[in-house]
């Protein structure tokens, strides 16, 4: 599908991804509002469609205790975006919202409030959790069967839209939603904003997740790049068509990281340096421990993988939710042979496993790769994941954005004011 001349969409994810990238001395405190302001404003300077906040609703645990090695903790997404609405003017503001442990009325009201403060720049990234572990912090615990999580999410979105649409020009109307998950009714009094319903972002990859995206999402935040990304995009577009929605109503935006340099070699060095920050020696050992099911702290993180097999039956209180012995054994075997083949130590292997497919090169090369990928139909744009905040997008915005603009593959100014405008969608009433 030729998309020559089509402008790509860019977004920014605030990095909070359980990596050891906090060791970068430029990394700011992520309970400091200034860290959010800095990154959001840079993304806005770069004319990005939206600024996205992830949600990790419970601290990661390792061996039965809170994990110490990766970034942990977060601010409430809608609350901090409500504050950011004051210090930004155009960029979209998108919280991740968990449909499992929230009530539609509360979320719809908070989002509509954000939409009001920001003059129509809100959106929401709808995610689902079904696990009882997360549920231990909520009234109903881990009540939702895994298979039902998308049903609940779909109904959640439907209920929220029913509430937003209940508002007439002269004030609140009456809404009612009757379904297996929710039976609610009343008046929805938060005034409507200029974009109608906030756009929906969705990130699931399963069969159910893809169907959900095709039916409900305005943006699909995917994790596929390269050929897998093309296949994913084609799949989503065919599902979308089956749902009777136009291809341009759903923007496919994979998450990507990047590393820049004055030369391609310098960029590769920077990519490696960023990975070395992200994967600390301690984090690499923890990563392996989750497969071996045993303490590996005596191993040299830069040395070879353990030559022993993973523990067959590790104590479940220390290793809750660990995979079956066969799976772990097969994985260990695969890693050992790969590491041996390529001469990789523990840390280098983990860097390889977690590195993904970043765009690496000079600003011109990265801009060309991004442009080519979008024009070949692999995606409609990208959600950029900087290695740190607040400054992690500075170089991209300063050096890559102009290259994109020069190629005619990116906007040179915001032409609209709402998030729907930036996404190129009509107001959805």
């Amino acid at each position: 599908m030729s998309t020559t001349g089509k402008a790509m969409h860019l977004a920014a994810l605030f990095p909070s991804n359980q990596s050891a990238g906090w060791r970068d001395p430029r990394s700011g405190d992520h309970s400091d509002f200034a860290t959010f302001t800095g990154l959001a404003r840079t993304a806005e300077r770069g004319l990005f469609d939206f600024f996205l906040l992830a949600d990790y609703p419970r601290l990661t645990e390792h061996r039965g205790a809170v994990s110490e090695v990766g970034t942990a903790g977060e601010l409430d997404q809608i609350t901090v975006l409500s504050a950011l609405s004051t210090v930004t003017e155009r960029i979209g503001l998108v919280p991740t919202v968990n449909a499992t442990f929230n009530e539609p009325f509360d979320v719809a009201r908070r989002l509509a409030s954000l939409d009001h403060f920001s003059n129509g720049r809100s959106g929401w990234n709808v995610v689902t959790t079904s696990n009882a572990w997360t549920g231990e912090n909520f009234r109903r615990g881990g009540y939702l069967p895994h298979a039902d999580r998308y049903q609940r999410a779909a109904e959640f979105v439907c209920a929220a839209r029913t509430m937003w649409r209940s508002r007439a020009a002269d004030g609140p109307g009456l809404f009612q939603h009757d379904g297996p998950q929710f039976r609610i009714s009343g008046h929805f009094t938060v005034p409507a904003g200029p974009q109608g319903c906030p756009p929906t972002i969705q990130a699931g990859d399963s069969e159910q997740g893809r169907e959900f995206a095709a039916s409900h999402a305005d943006v699909v935040y995917s994790r596929h790049r390269g050929r897998a990304g093309h296949a994913f995009a084609a799949d989503i577009r065919s599902r979308t068509a089956r749902q009777g929605r136009g291809a341009d109503q759903v923007k496919i935006m994979p998450g990507v990281s990047f590393a820049l340099g004055d030369t391609d070699e310098e960029a590769r060095d920077n990519a490696r340096a960023a990975q070395e920050l992200a994967i600390s020696p301690q984090l690499a050992i923890c990563y392996l421990e989750r497969t071996w099911g045993r303490d590996l702290s005596s191993h040299d993180p830069d040395g070879p993988l353990p030559d022993t097999d993973p523990e067959r039956a590790p104590d479940p209180s220390e290793w809750p939710g660990i995979a079956a012995a066969e799976a772990r054994s097969a994985r260990a075997q695969k890693w050992r042979s790969y590491a041996a083949q390529h001469g990789l130590g523990i840390r280098q292997l983990v860097m390889k496993l977690t590195g993904g497919k970043p765009f690496v090169g000079t600003p011109a090369r990265v801009a060309q790769q991004m442009t080519d990928y979008v024009r070949s139909g692999g995606a409609d744009g990208f959600v950029l994941v900087p290695g740190y905040a607040p400054g992690g997008l500075d170089e991209f915005v300063d050096r890559v954005v102009p290259e994109l603009q020069e190629r005619g593959s990116y906007r040179t100014a915001y032409t609209g004011e709402t998030l729907r405008d930036h996404l190129g969608q009509s107001t959805q009433s």
Partner: protein, 349 residues
Amino acid sequence: MNHVFLGVEIGEPESARPAARPGPAASDCARAAKLAERGSLAFVTLGEVLTSRSDSAPGRQPLCQSRLNPVATLAHVAPQTTSIGLVATATVSYLEPFHVSKALATLDHVSSGRAGWCVQVSRSAEEAQLFGDRSARDLPSRYEEAVEFVEVVSRLWDSWEDGAEIRDAATGRFLDRARIRAVNHQGRYFQVKGPGIVPRPPQGHPVTAVRITSDEDLPLAARADMVFGRLERIAGTRPRLRGETRIIADLFVDCRGLPAGQWAWEAGGAAQIGDVRAFADFLEARARTGLVDGFRLVFADVTTELSRFVDEAVPELRTRRLVSPWGPGCRSFRERLGLPHTAPNSLVP
């Protein structure tokens, strides 16, 4: 000490708003908060009513309301202000303590230690319908639930010690897990394991406020840092509260239509009119009784009347040293209220 704590409600009374006109816009709230700050007020409050209609029983008319979510609205206001306390009402009856704890901790972070919340219990079947709550629980159990809710919220704030985030690059430790604790709450209404997910707020605990309209509110009020209420209702409550709790009387002001220089106010059941000196005399006299520690101004039309208050009444109050601006050493809203600048951590042995 003659000093009084002055605050202002920046929502609007339901009665004041013509039906067709929408509720206070966020920009109105921001403008009011900035004005209040300029007038050396210690805090703003923002009430909430979840539906467009309230139950009709007398005395239950909500004081003021925002059609916008109050925590989100005050988070929007926070970067536009630097010193004023921000007290958001939260109706706790259908929400998760985990979410509310997280949102308030965040308000405290983005405002650098100026967050507060007014705990509200839902009394309305109509509100229950918004959440699909068909339990038809009675009011006493709603109040009991609210007391437990506040307890859980506080413990979640305490689940992170100050300085749990150590960022020790040498050892690769972002967190010190010894400074993070599970909450392990097993109660009648909630089971919450914890720990929370937000680093400990600057104040430890955002200021907790309760509005007293009846004796049913007293168990909640006994755990509060601040109570609001009609003067005649709360003037006698000090013996039933903690020693440090700030008692703040609602002061209703409606100067619409009055000639310049004239003030009309009501507190303690008696409406009064006078010039600005009489107004200041009244405040000073009430404060001197020691029965109240301050006042929350409730204007019939905050948009026009607060401005007049700041221009005309505040200079008089400043002259009498009844109010003073946020001092350079003041580190948080708690400290502004004369409390220790952070709350102690109940989970630290």
